[in-house]
């Protein structure tokens, strides 16, 4: 759709806030503003490096940035970081798979039928008020200290956001669109497929984003439980040897995982929600 008319209509529909976010990307001052954004961070890094070199910050308190980079490189080359990352990713993947699929299943049951809501929703709403990380002692008693409690914790952490948002999305279906679907001959299955589920997808994906964040948080806590591999193990092990450089590398990896998870959902959103005004491209 390249005609000016459609573009005009689209502009009118896109909220002003979004346009402002989009504008700098083709504005002339972008390079400068990006540079400014990172300037203070670079200054802090330089101060940190200087303080470390001057002996103001002891290595056992916090390693110098250059040491951290060198350590990261060593850990990558030795295969230690890739191995532990692989283990952590495996836990997140398994936990997410279980958590997201059970969250989706429960949301569909509760969202699509009155009886399902009666059975599923009340216990879910009660359980979600529980800070799930407080379940760690119980999980250790139930599942021991192997992989099971770690995966279970990640599952639990990711199931609730998906359940809550998808359930709300399903129940938030525009009744006017449902009526239109009925007038045009959609049966119940057709309504669910063409109206309810696509309409609930945006909030479901918001839930997925929360779930990924929550899964990562669960991973951090879970890996404190007697892990013998994984990023958390790397950090705990480094603590015993006062290796602050390794600890920071582990923290950076956690942060990167968070960024990666967010980017992943954004990509899914761009594909699945291409119809949304702020995602339509010319």
């Amino acid at each position: 759709m390249s005609d000016t008319h459609a573009i005009g209509a689209r502009r009118a529909l896109a909220p002003a806030r979004l346009r402002e976010v989009v504008r700098p990307s083709n504005g002339a001052g972008f390079g400068l503003s990006r540079y400014k954004r990172f300037a203070s961070s670079i200054v802090i890094l330089l101060l940190w490096q200087g303080a470390s070199m001057a002996g103001l910050i002891a290595p056992r308190t916090l390693a110098a940035p250059t040491t951290i980079v060198a350590t990261a490189w060593e850990l990558i080359l030795s295969g230690e970081l890739p191995h532990n990352l692989f283990v952590s990713l495996g836990r997140v993947a398994a936990g997410l798979l279980i958590g997201v699929s059970s969250g989706v299943t429960l949301a569909l049951i509760a969202g699509l039928s009155k009886r399902g809501e009666e059975i599923v929703d009340a216990p879910m709403q009660m359980l979600r008020t529980l800070p799930f990380l407080a379940l760690v002692p119980l999980f250790i008693l139930w599942f021991g200290i192997g992989e099971a409690p770690k995966i279970a914790l990640v599952s639990l952490g990711s199931a609730f956001p998906v359940y809550l948002t998808l359930f709300a999305g399903i129940r938030g279906t525009d009744p006017k669109l449902m009526e239109a679907g009925r007038v045009f001959g959609l049966d119940r299955a057709g309504l669910i497929r063409h109206v309810v589920l696509p309409g609930a997808l945006p909030s479901g994906l918001v839930g997925l984003r929360y779930a990924l964040g929550s899964a990562l948080l669960s991973l951090v806590i879970a890996e404190q439980i007697n892990a013998t591999a994984g990023i958390g193990f790397l950090i705990n092990d480094a603590r015993d040897f006062l290796r602050t450089d390794v600890i920071v590398v582990g923290l950076v990896v956690y942060a990167l995982l968070g960024l990666l998870a967010d980017a992943l959902v954004r990509t899914v959103e761009r594909r699945a929600l291409a119809w949304r005004p702020n995602l339509i491209k010319g």
Binding site: M1, D3, H5, A6, A9, R10, L13, K176, L177, E179, A180, G181, R182, V183, F184, G185, L186, G190, H194, V195, P198, G199, L201, L273, A274, W275, R276, P277, I280
Partner: protein, 241 residues
């Protein structure tokens, strides 16, 4: 043209709590006729239309006879924002040629260039034309229009009136338009019904050749009569005219 049954409603009463919206209403529509249903807000217009569209259950004591294929256009386009325009029009159509039929219908309403567009990129008038195409592609024998042009600007509305008349002449569905716009009713319909307190209070044939003009003396007279049927005082009508 296999299904040329009349639209016939006998003794339709609808209550919501203690409020009786439709009061033993009788209605007959000739096959292929164009009827406008006028009424103040709360007069039961929309309830009647919803019953005909099958959106509200018809009470058992009412005798309602409808053609097989009924389609509706609402005040809002009600397009599914996550489906491209052609897919919205093809929604629920059986058969492998659904897309081709949708494209033909969109061509008829002048949206051939927008087949792949997302609904949110269309203007109000375009979206409402897509909604018309979605109704037409089903080859309805009864076409229900629920204030379809109320949200459009005046110029777009004039174009839509012409389009609806063209499509009605080309396809010949029995058409019932609910509106609160007296001019629209007189411009479009062969027959104007005024609904009041759940009953048909006036049933007036519009015996004027198309295209009709607001300046026509018969138009003005009919308009005045309908406005007074709707309960407007004489001096208000003079001022409005």
């Amino acid at each position: 043209m296999s299904d040329q049954r009349n639209v016939s409603v006998r003794g339709l009463t609808r209550r919501f709590g203690t409020n009786t919206v439709l009061h033993g209403l009788d209605l007959e529509l000739e096959p292929g006729s164009f009827t406008a249903l006028l009424g103040r807000s709360g007069s039961g217009k929309t309830t009647l239309l919803r019953t005909l569209a099958g959106l509200d259950p018809a009470p058992a004591e009412a005798a309602i006879e409808l053609p097989d294929r009924v389609a509706a256009v609402f005040q809002e386009p009600r397009l599914l924002p996550w489906k491209r325009i052609w897919a919205n029009v093809a929604l629920g159509l059986p058969g492998a040629d659904a897309k081709a039929r949708a494209e033909r219908a969109l061509g008829e309403v002048g949206l051939a260039r927008h087949l792949e567009a997302w609904p949110t990129t269309l203007s109000g008038g375009e979206a409402q034309r897509a909604a018309l195409a979605r109704a037409l592609v089903r080859e309805p024998r009864l076409l229900l229009l629920d204030e379809p042009f109320a949200a459009l600007d005046a110029l777009t509305r004039i174009r839509m009136h012409a389009l609806v008349l063209d499509l009605w002449r080309a396809h010949g569905p029995t058409t019932l338009i609910v509106t609160h716009d007296v001019d629209e009713a007189v411009l479009l319909a062969d027959r104007v019904l005024v609904l009041d307190a759940g009953r048909i209070a006036a049933d007036i044939a519009v015996d004027m050749p198309r295209p009709r003009s607001h300046g026509d003396a018969r138009f003005v007279a009919l308009r005045r009569r309908l406005l007074s049927e709707l309960g407007l005082e004489a001096e208000v009508i003079r001022e409005a005219a």
